[in-house]
């Protein structure tokens, strides 16, 4: 039992959990034909069958039930404001399954030359709102109300000690839906994690329909013809958003240290980490000269790296790997698309630089609060 718990604690650590996810993700949600081929070969598409859903749901429920026997797990999962996130885990899983299940079914139908499930023969296939839709809505409404009522009677809303601005709790956590952003604070300064990245999420979401203009695949679930869009959206939504929230809620304890789900939140847990800036690597470790005084000279390497990343990589990709995409989108749409993707990718990149090299900032200009 203890062995199993220790195993889970280890697997749950960000490095392992995130790496496993990164490796598996695009095989589960194929990004292109190559991944799709492997998806079929590894039989990962079976994940979207009814059987797999039932097994997965049982496993997840089993894990939670087992976990509840552990005091550390219980104290974090049953914290009133964390209950919705347990719910979120199940709901996100179920609806991911539901949409993928229907998508793969429709893909199969299309392949066999049949019509998709949502096929609609205007104006014959019309249903009346009264009573057909109103009936469904009414039931949904009753169920939702009943659910909320039971939840409200069963679980009291939290209220802690009166506010005390001089005594900060440890850890101090933002509301759960912003914990993905707070988790990003580990790797980015507040101006990025708290301001720029959230703004870009909003802008990026709004930009989706203006970038993905392929009129096919609208109005029904499908995957095959929308691989790139769906895989990228899934990655942002499931990994960079939901997973970070779950990590931030359940696995971050005092001093924002990592704690496994079965680990006691020890305030004195030490993570002796000294993080080093890119410029320090260059001047101190490699050139052995000591840091230059001029800010520009000091940071020029990081600036060059970033310029290369944002200015050289996009045209390079457009010429090679993303040639078709570039042709389809045109230069303006392609530029917006690729810059948004590259910015999103800075998060996993910075994570790995941190884990592997203890890298703190690529550009560090604390004099002007500009650290990246």
């Amino acid at each position: 039992m203890e062995g199993f718990k220790n195993l889970i604690n280890t697997i749950a650590s960000p490095t392992i959990l995130f790496t496993a996810t990164m490796v598996l993700f695009f095989f589960i949600f194929p990004l292109n034909d190559w991944f799709d081929k492997w998806n079929r070969r590894l039989k990962l598409h079976l994940l979207w069958t009814k059987k797999a859903m039932i097994i997965a749901a049982l496993l997840m429920a089993g894990f939670f039930l087992f976990g509840l026997s552990d005091p550390d797990f219980r104290s974090i999962v049953l914290k009133p404001d964390n209950v919705p996130i347990s719910g979120l885990i199940f709901l996100v899983y179920f609806f991911t399954w539901l949409s993928m299940h229907q998508a793969y079914q429709n893909d199969e139908r299309l392949e066999n030359g049949e019509k998709v499930d949502e096929h609609y023969d205007a104006p014959n296939d019309k249903a009346l709102v009264w009573p057909d839709l109103v009936y469904v809505e009414f039931i949904a409404l009753i169920l939702c109300s009943a659910f909320l009522l039971v939840w409200s009677i069963g679980l009291q809303a939290p209220i802690e000690e009166p506010a005390n601005p001089t005594e900060s709790p440890n850890p101090a956590k933002a509301p759960w839906y912003f914990l993905g952003l707070q988790e990003m604070l580990v790797y980015f300064d507040p101006w990025m994690a708290g301001v720029v990245l959230p703004s870009l999420i909003i802008i990026g979401l709004i930009a989706i329909p203006y970038i993905d203009r392929d009129p096919g695949g609208s109005g029904y679930y499908s995957y095959k013809n929308r691989k790139l869009s769906i895989a990228l959206f899934m990655f942002g939504w499931l990994v960079l958003w939901d997973m970070l929230i779950i990590v931030g809620t359940f696995l971050r304890g005092p001093n924002w240290n990592f704690f496994g789900p079965f680990e006691y939140w020890d305030i004195h847990k030490l993570e002796a980490l000294t993080n080093i800036n890119f410029s320090e690597y260059i001047y101190v470790k490699w050139f052995n000269t000591g840091m230059p005084n001029n800010i520009l000279i000091r940071e020029i390497w990081g600036i060059l790296v970033l310029l290369g990343y944002f200015l050289i990589l996009p045209p390079l990709l457009a010429k090679t790997w993303m040639k078709d995409l570039f042709a389809r989108l045109g230069s303006f749409r392609y530029s917006v698309f690729i810059v948004l993707i590259l910015i999103a990718l800075t998060l996993p990149i910075k994570m790995y630089l941190r884990w592997m090299f203890n890298l703190k900032y690529i550009i560090a200009i604390p004099e002007y609060f500009f650290n990246f």
Binding site: D125, I159, P165, S218, R226
Partner: protein, 256 residues
Amino acid sequence: MLEKFRDTQFYKSIFRGGGVPKSRRQRMMVVLNSVFLHLHPVRLPKHAVKLKFTWCMGGLTFFLFLIETISGILLMFYYRPTIEYAYTDIIDLAEQVPFGIMREIHRWGAHAMVITVWLHMFRVFMTGSYKPPREFNWAVGVILLLLTLLLSFTGYLLPWDQLAIWAITVGSNMARATPFFGYEGPGASLLAIGDINFITMASDARFALIGGRFMGEAALLRFYVLHCIGLPFIIMIFMAIHFWRIRKDGGISTPV
């Protein structure tokens, strides 16, 4: 008995037409005659009424918003947004008010609404319903998502307990790192004439948000006003646009 009642002058005066809607025409008239049902079209594609297509998530989000409005109004009867009273009013709410689960309904409903908006967005994405002609409504939806989160965030402060102020402190501290407009943000020092900085601790984005240099009375009042009046007002306008556009864009998306 019920059928008779439906033929009375009283019933007919409320529900135009009266009687049990039996024929196709009568059923269509039910929708056309009702201000509430009129949000809907009269007829719609068969797959659009199926739960497995829309998951009813948009509808549930709207329903939860209505629940939040009603329970929120009830909470406002008891709650005073001052440092002196806020906390004790919340305590009293649970202990003194009969059937005191309004706060639970409001809080859990808010959490649920955040989840349903996300899932609604996810469903819209997966059915490709953001594609033309629905691009703009998707954008309106993104604004609705943002507003939902902000509503939830502003409400989080109001109990004025440790959980509340520290969660909001973590959140609003980010504002002081806003590029150019936060006093610890990159570029803020560029907004200066000579030695005079325009962006200081008492004039930056964070100051605007919490109405002071520290979390206090002004922050509570600001969040209260935004939470109870400002944001609901704005979100209702955007919801109206959202619903209007669903109809104008041809109703629930269908395969072409």
